[in-house]
């Protein structure tokens, strides 16, 4: 199944969270790498990467979801992606011939589109990608949008690339229209959709973020995770100390058998 999902600046009505299909279960691995290729983009590679990172942090911030998105580098072209010839998925590409994919007039109101979704036999997403409008002279070319609008667009399309459909709630990020939104914020509806598709289970690993401890820290994210790990250890020490002082548990004091009454 391949469908094209649009985000436009038109406006209209409302409902509840949806998915792209009734049995789509998201990507098989809840750690998803989004590959970015800035070739043909009307904005610089560093600008695009920065916006993608902001978008990723929006979806990574869902407490009750196991979803972890990372950014990677893609070498795929639009033609290769559309032909189904890339394994760097999901991918974000800039399309200088955007009107060919979305149709004539739409190129002036549609800043991005998600081409999806192929699923495997288990219902997991196996193919998906986002094309950004980079067509010269197009009214919705992303270079004409503010940084916030591009981030909103990317965040919405990333929701599709992860398996979410539209929301009927006007304030939701997954509502079809940007409307008056200025900031990529997830509403309860967006959260519910992603939680249902990528639920978190801390009984199978990790407590309050302790599962994400990486000791090989080379970037800021890993540093934060490392710091989280240190906090885990400190918390454990405090719990043990409290237990010892209040209830004499974890105590090494010898057990004294009470004497029998005479």
């Amino acid at each position: 199944m391949r469908s094209i999902l649009f985000l436009s600046f038109l406006s209209s009505f409302a409902m509840g969270w949806t998915h792209l299909g009734n049995n789509i279960r998201g990507w098989k691995n809840s750690t998803v790498t989004v590959y970015v290729n800035a070739t043909n983009c009307p904005i610089s590679e560093s600008q695009l990467n920065e916006m993608v990172d902001t978008t990723i942090s929006v979806w990574n911030g869902v407490t009750d979801s196991s979803l972890v998105i990372k950014r990677g580098v893609s070498t795929a072209s639009v033609a290769e992606f559309l032909a189904g010839d890339t394994t760097e998925l999901p991918v974000i590409l800039c399309d200088p011939n955007f009107s060919v994919q979305v149709g004539g007039a739409s190129v002036n109101v549609v800043p991005a589109a998600t081409f999806s979704t192929n699923t495997d036999e288990h219902g997991n997403l196996s193919y998906s990608g986002i094309l950004l409008n980079a067509e010269s002279g197009a009214g919705a070319n992303i270079s004409l949008l503010t940084e916030g609008q591009v981030e909103l667009t990317l965040a919405h399309e990333m929701g599709h690339a992860l398996g979410l459909g539209h929301s009927s709630q006007k304030e939701a990020l997954m509502y079809y229209s940007l409307g008056a939104k200025q900031q990529a914020l997830l509403t309860e509806d967006d959260l519910d959709g992603i939680i249902q598709m990528y639920p978190r289970n801390e009984f199978t690993g990790g407590v309050m973020g302790c599962s994400s401890v990486h000791l090989s820290s080379t970037n800021n994210e890993s540093f934060l995770q490392y710091r989280g790990g240190m906090t885990c250890l400190l918390l454990l020490v405090l719990v043990v100390y409290w237990g010892r002082t209040q209830f004499k548990i974890f105590s090494s004091a010898p057990f004294i058998k009470p004497e029998r009454p005479l």
């Binding site: 949806t18 049995n23 407490t63 009750d64 109101v109 459909g165 914020l185 309860e188 598709m197 209830f247």
Partner: protein
């Protein structure tokens, strides 16, 4: 509600999701980013022999959240193992671990929604899912007599992860059953 004996309490009040997002949300978004709902809880009161009281509880957000289309529903429950300690005779400090259980389910029905150009068919998921996250609870309990109390709690989850940290709050009126 002192430390004199075992008892059971029914708490009823309000629950606020995502306090931290409410703080960051632009004007007009607060009500949608951070939703409010009712909260119903059953709480035990088990003195531990010192001034500490163990207060295990099970609470649920009411009513269940439902999509406008009726196809998707969400059921959120807190199972907590809180300890309380008297600060003064009528005020207790509460602290403890817990588990937040989110159960989302839907019937897989098709839904026609606008896609900006025309409409597309989307779907509610045809399966259910469970999310289980550990949380820490902290709060105050104002003792209003032998039967009544007012409880204010903050639930924190994902506390050790900067990106996922989340705070909810509840205020309830408690009756000793």
């Amino acid at each position: 509600m002192g430390a004199s004996g075992r008892s059971l309490h029914l708490d009823l009040g309000g629950y606020q999701n995502h306090l931290e997002q409410k703080r960051n949300a632009p004007s007009g978004f607060e009500d949608k980013v951070s939703s409010r709902t009712g909260y119903l809880r059953l709480r035990g009161n088990l003195p531990l022999g010192t001034n500490w009281i163990w207060e295990p509880s099970v609470g649920t957000l009411v009513p269940w959240k439902s999509g406008v289309d009726g196809n998707s529903k969400k059921f959120t429950t807190h199972i907590d193992f809180t300890f309380s300690y008297p600060l003064i005779s009528w005020l207790r400090f509460r602290l403890g671990p817990g588990v937040k259980w989110v159960f989302a389910f839907s019937d897989g029905g098709p839904i026609e929604l606008n896609n900006g150009i025309s409409t597309s068919t989307f779907y509610s998921a045809g399966y259910s899912s469970h999310s289980l996250t550990f949380s820490a609870q902290s709060g105050l309990s104002v003792v209003l007599g032998s039967k009544l109390s007012v409880n204010l709690e903050v639930y924190g989850s994902g506390l050790l992860n900067n990106l996922r940290r989340n705070f909810d709050a509840a205020i309830t009126l408690g009756w000793r059953l």
